[in-house]
């Protein structure tokens, strides 16, 4: 298999091209701009579209346009830009348009800084824009996953006709790792029943999120809700490391899961039975797996680059069956391994005795 040593941000575009994404619309923002740079180079070279839009708002609405034609399309941004895209995402979810949006999360709130953070978890996993909708949210933790999960995001978006989001951070974006370059496959979805692409075949189709009658809009919402339940049932992805006999399960995603992974064996070397559960899909959240673990695991710890967002989903999943601790850094500060080991010791010595 062809391999290349590449940045996570570049791997996103490789995954997108392999998925058959044909149009990229974006607006520059650090630390996501490299994705646009790669798109500007590769999309036109392959006969596709790249437009640097006049705003984040325009970029997501251009995505709405191409997505409404049943053509794979994407945009990428970082936190402040992602906030601006919420209107468009709500419309795309309402109109049931498949598309992929990448958020390389940076420090907030407001302009914040350009350092890595995970403070957009609520915005990504709870809706973000107005109305009853969800984004399918995937959280890669390395360059290979930046590629593979982007590709997967396109498939999930098509399968459920819903926007999908890649939530990553500046470290995962800037980091270089070896990536197996994927082999593109034909897209197994037919959009001709709903897409409006300016051909005679789709002449009768309408792409819209307006449903004027309350009875009909309730019906539409319930239909979306049924779809979201199906996603929750079928599409949860997570990874476990040494949770079998763990006295403490640490839950972390994205770059933080890499740091926690490094500490698990170190903790075990000093007799602390620590395990890791890494959500790969943030929505749907691995609620069942965590709920099952909570039957026998005495304690949980969420580690995040935030003041405590994912921990709320962890608490809901554990549902009072075990104590749920939280350790977070934010503003661009990233916990070191020793810092985390100190937390594990505190919890296991305090909680178990």
């Amino acid at each position: 298999m062809a391999k290349q040593f590449m940045k996570g941000n570049d791997a996103i575009i490789v995954g997108a091209l392999a998925a058959g994404c044909r149009a990229y619309y974006g607006y520059p923002i650090t630390p996501a701009s490299e994705i646009a740079h790669a798109a500007a180079l590769h999309f036109p070279a392959l006969g596709g579209v790249f437009i640097q839009a006049e705003s984040e708002v325009s970029a997501i609405n251009m995505v709405y346009g191409t997505a409404g034609m049943g053509i794979r399309t994407m945009t990428a941004s970082s936190s402040p830009g992602f906030s601006l895209k919420q209107e468009g995402l709500s419309y795309a979810a309402g109109a049931e348009l498949p598309c992929v949006v990448v958020n390389i999360v940076r420090g907030g709130p407001g302009l914040g800084n350009i350092a890595p953070e995970q403070g957009d978890y609520f915005q990504i996993t709870k809706g973000g824009g107005h109305g009853n909708y969800r984004l399918i949210a995937l959280a890669p933790n390395g360059a290979q996953e930046m590629c593979d999960l982007t590709r997967k995001a396109f498939d999930l978006a098509d399968k459920y006709r819903n926007p999908a989001c890649i939530m990553a951070d500046g470290i995962t974006g800037q980091m270089m790792e070896v990536v197996d370059i994927p082999v593109p496959e034909p897209i197994p979805f037919d959009h001709s029943s709903w897409a409006a692409d300016g051909t005679a075949a789709t002449r009768k189709n309408l792409v819209s999120s307006i449903v004027l009658e309350p009875e009909e809009l309730e019906e539409h919402n319930l239909k979306l809700d049924a779809k979201y339940r199906e996603i929750v049932e079928n599409e949860v992805l997570y990874e476990e490391y040494r949770t079998d006999d763990a006295d403490l399960v640490v839950v972390a995603y994205g770059v933080v899961s890499r740091i926690v992974y490094s500490t698990v064996d170190q903790a075990r070397a000093e007799g602390l039975k620590v395990g890791l559960l890494r959500p790969i899909t943030l929505w749907p959240y691995p609620e069942k797996a965590l709920s099952a673990l909570a039957e026998r695991v005495p304690a949980f710890l969420a580690v995040e680059l935030s003041t405590g967002q994912m921990v709320e989903d962890l608490r809901l999943a554990v549902n009072g069956k075990a104590p749920v601790h939280f350790y977070g850094r934010c503003g661009g500060m990233v916990p070191g391994g020793e810092e985390l080991l100190t937390e594990y010791r505190k919890i296991l010595e305090g909680g178990r005795s």
């Binding site: 290349q4 392999a18 709405y64 496959e185």
Partner: protein
């Protein structure tokens, strides 16, 4: 005998419309939209473009444009129709794309989208219905509301010093180089309506011929919003509005632009073509069977920007990659950037790599004094520190660490340029760790260094660093 009938570009019955009256429009008596819709539909018939047309409805009274037009339809977010239209046109250049917008949509909340679609010269047609009021939301002030005009948000009338002046979009857009055709017409009198009909046709024909951006502003009536009966509304349009919004052609390059000038190509997804393209991105060497590795390398390389610190990390990473090892490279980012050092973390392992950040290196390279001061304490006991002694004056703790001091920059000068000091250091790293055979490193460098003229110099630099550690010279 002329038979008048509904345009085939309209639906016979408006099934998408809610309520019982499915053969009437939702527009109020005396509203201009119905007439304008009809003229667009007839132009679509005459130009034989209906089957490939996409009509983008805005937010405003014409939000329901899709009730009527028997073509592909989009309903867009408020003000975003030109962005949606841009994408549709770019993703299918054969489509005829119509952005139909009111004054609030086009000239207030969507001003940016309007100007930039025009400025890019998108080969779309924008129909701008200017009736100087927000109709759908209950008669509020529009960007085109006239001075003195009462609305629900200007109950005392629009005042220049409070609300600004009515905005003239046709004139503004005509200052841009890209648009092909910009005209303002009206639907007040029969004569005006005939001119509007011509302008609509012309705009769509320009798009059909690939001649670029066309924009028709249509001054129209809103008896309900204006609180007038239809006749009074028509008179107010003719007598008052047109003083502020003069009719005329503001730009017309249609005779000077060749057909097809603004056609852009778009190719659908061809997996084989993408595969060939992606295959070209692969590394310039094949990854070997996994080689032995004496021990995992957790490296931090630090120095000034411009010393090739990041490249040093990339070279070592690619050597590790070729050897079939797990590799991560991460440049200093965020708060670490402070203090005048550029640095990167490189991990090489036979096992899965956890954190890409190296906070406790077993191999530290320092190419300036601040880096020695900042990172020496982080090195694990018994770890190796490699110091460019040409630049760094301080001494590392030789009791705790395996210290290799070599005048890398001087040695690089001997090779021909200080720029290869990082490769001298690479030689020292490889020799000090016994991670890879020097021949393996050399053949990897030959593959990854893009400029052929630099290869010999880099080979010499690498050997100098390697031999210095191995042989002490």
């Amino acid at each position: 005998m002329k038979v008048f009938e509904k345009s085939p570009s309209f639906y016979e019955v408006f099934e998408r419309k809610s309520g019982p009256a499915k053969e009437a429009t939702h527009y109020c008596p005396g509203c201009g939209h119905g007439n304008i819709h009809k003229m667009i539909a007839e132009a679509m018939d005459d130009l034989e473009i209906t089957e490939r047309s996409v009509f983008v409805s805005p937010v405003g009274c014409s939000v329901f444009g899709y009730y009527y037009f028997d073509c592909g339809n989009f309903q867009a977010a408020h003000g975003r129709a030109p962005a949606v239209a841009t994408a549709v046109k770019r993703s299918n250049p054969d489509a005829i794309v119509i952005s139909y917008q009111g004054d609030g949509d086009l000239a207030a909340i969507g001003t940016a989208e309007t100007i930039h679609a025009a400025n890019r010269g998108e080969n779309i047609t924008v129909f701008f219905v200017n009736n100087a009021i927000y109709g759908m939301t209950g008669g509020q002030m529009a960007p085109t509301t006239m001075i003195g005009q009462r609305s629900t948000t200007t109950p005392l009338g629009r005042a220049e010093q409070i609300h600004g002046n009515p905005i003239r979009m046709a004139e503004m857009l005509a200052t841009l180089p890209a648009p092909t055709y910009i005209e303002r017409v009206a639907v007040g009198t029969s004569k005006q309506i005939m001119k509007t009909r011509k302008a609509i046709r012309k705009a769509l024909k320009i798009q059909k011929e690939g001649k670029g951006y066309s924009f028709v502003e249509i001054v129209s009536t809103c008896p309900t919003g204006w609180k007038m009966d239809p006749v009074a509304a028509r008179d107010w349009l003719v007598d008052d509005m047109l003083k502020v919004f003069p009719l005329g052609v503001f730009k017309d390059e249609s005779d000077n632009v060749d057909e097809g000038t603004w056609d852009r190509s778009f190719e659908g997804f061809v997996p084989d073509k993408v595969n060939t393209y992606l295959d070209r991105m692969k590394s310039p060497f094949d990854v070997t069977e996994e080689l032995d590795l004496v021990k995992d390398l957790n490296c931090k390389f630090a120095g000034f920007g411009g010393q090739g610190i990041l490249t040093l990390g990339l070279f070592l990473s690619q050597i590790g990659m070729r050897a079939g090892h797990q590799v991560s490279w991460f440049p200093a980012y965020g708060p670490e950037m402070r203090g005048g050092t550029a640095n990167c973390s490189v991990n090489i392992s036979r096992d899965r790599i956890g954190s890409p950040l190296v906070d406790r290196p077993n191999m530290l390279v320092v190419m300036n004094q601040p880096s020695l001061d900042a990172f020496e304490k982080d090195v694990v006991d018994g770890g190796t520190i490699i110091v460019d002694s040409t630049i760094v004056e301080g001494k590392a703790d030789a009791k705790r660490l395996n210290v290799v001091a070599l005048p890398a920059s001087d040695m690089a000068d001997e090779v021909g340029t200080t720029k290869v000091a990082n490769v001298v250091i690479l030689g020292a790293v490889v020799a000090a760790t016994d991670a890879y055979e020097p021949e393996f490193v050399e053949s990897t460098l030959r593959a990854v260094i893009k400029k052929q003229s630099l290869i010999d110099m880099n080979m010499e630099a690498f050997r100098k660093g390697y031999d210095f550690v191995k042989n002490g010279n």
